[in-house]
């Protein structure tokens, strides 16, 4: 059994948690017009790496809070656990974040407001 360190409850059995899938998927803003193909990458495409994966987890049977986790899908090693809305802090976690194809996707680029140039 995997032991997961909940940021609020401490070390608990994996059975108390549920995995919410890939983390850091930003929704494109409505003001940024993108193609259906680009939107479908946001909506349907999920990463399934062999190695370090950044996931969202919820302590379902405990405090019911969400958090992020960097986990190795081969060894099941938990590299780091960090709060919702944060980015990974360890070198391995950072690398996994930056090397993800999503960082260069049109959908993610469209998730931040357009820079308006002065008229």
């Amino acid at each position: 059994m995997l032991k997961i360190e909940c940021p609020f409850c401490g070390n608990r059995n994996e059975t108390e948690f549920s995995c919410g899938g890939e983390a850091h998927i930003a929704r494109p803003l409505a003001e940024n017009k993108i193609t259906d193909l680009a939107f479908s990458e946001y909506l349907f495409m999920r990463d399934n790496p062999k190695g370090v994966f950044l996931e969202r987890w919820c302590h379902t049977s405990g405090c019911r809070r969400w958090f992020n986790m960097a986990r190795d899908t081969v060894s099941h090693e938990i590299i780091e656990i960090y709060a919702m809305g944060q980015k990974p802090k360890t070198a391995i976690g950072k690398k996994a974040f930056l090397s993800n194809w999503r960082r260069k996707s049109k959908a993610e680029t469209a998730s931040t407001p357009i820079k308006r140039t002065a008229k």
Partner: protein, 208 residues
């Protein structure tokens, strides 16, 4: 089982289908070492609030909310349990929870917090006796040793697969624990406790 309609606000007992007291023990034991009872119609309020609003709620209700997650505070027979960084469960004697609810609802703080009466959604069981920790540890993977689970400690976990809140009210020779579960799971939890408590001797009786 009869089909009595459920009445809201009155509270339904998890014991309603049971004839009390129930005593289960091996013949070798003189008396049961665990006492189990339901605290009937205990008032329960769920509060969602930010850290800054805790003080104001404490001032209004008299509960001490300066707690960490999975901690309990007791004051004049009332308990507050911290369920998460912004979530609390207030326990109050039967009927008084509606007064507390009204009090919070009529204060301007209600614009920043959420108060939900969960009295009927949850069922509170009281466990006391020498072997309570051993009984509970049969159903969950929490370290219940007095050194790590002392007075005013609480935990949310699965007990025999049913989601519960376990709180230690008193840690001494005759430990007193509170086990709060979903009302719909209460009968199952009771049956499980009576079954699991057999070896220690267990008596389920009405709350005194």
């Amino acid at each position: 089982m009869d089909n009595k309609p459920l009445q809201m606000g009155v509270g339904n007992s998890a014991f309603s289908n049971k004839k009390l007291p129930i005593i289960k023990k091996p013949q070798s034991l003189d008396s049961p070492q665990i006492t189990l009872s339901e605290i009937p119609h205990l008032g329960k309020l769920n509060i969602r609030c930010a850290g800054d609003d805790r003080q104001q709620i404490s001032k209004l209700t008299g509960y001490n909310l300066a707690l960490q997650t999975n901690q309990l505070s007791s004051k004049a027979g009332r308990h507050a349990i911290c369920l998460g960084p912004d979530e609390y469960l207030l326990l109050a004697e039967q009927g008084s929870e509606t007064r507390l609810e009204k009090m919070l609802n009529s204060d301007k703080i209600i614009n920043k917090i959420a108060v939900t009466n969960v009295s009927d959604a949850l069922c509170a069981l009281s466990l006391s006796g020498l072997k309570v920790r051993e009984l509970l540890s049969k159903g969950c993977a929490i370290d219940l040793h007095p050194d790590s689970f002392g007075r005013n400690k609480s935990v949310q976990c699965d007990l025999a697969l049913a989601n519960v809140i376990i709180a230690c009210i008193e840690a001494n020779e005759t430990d007193e624990f509170l086990c709060i579960c979903r009302t719909s799971f209460a009968e199952y939890v009771l049956d499980w406790m009576i079954d699991a408590g057999y070896e220690f001797g267990i008596i389920a009786r009405s709350y005194a």
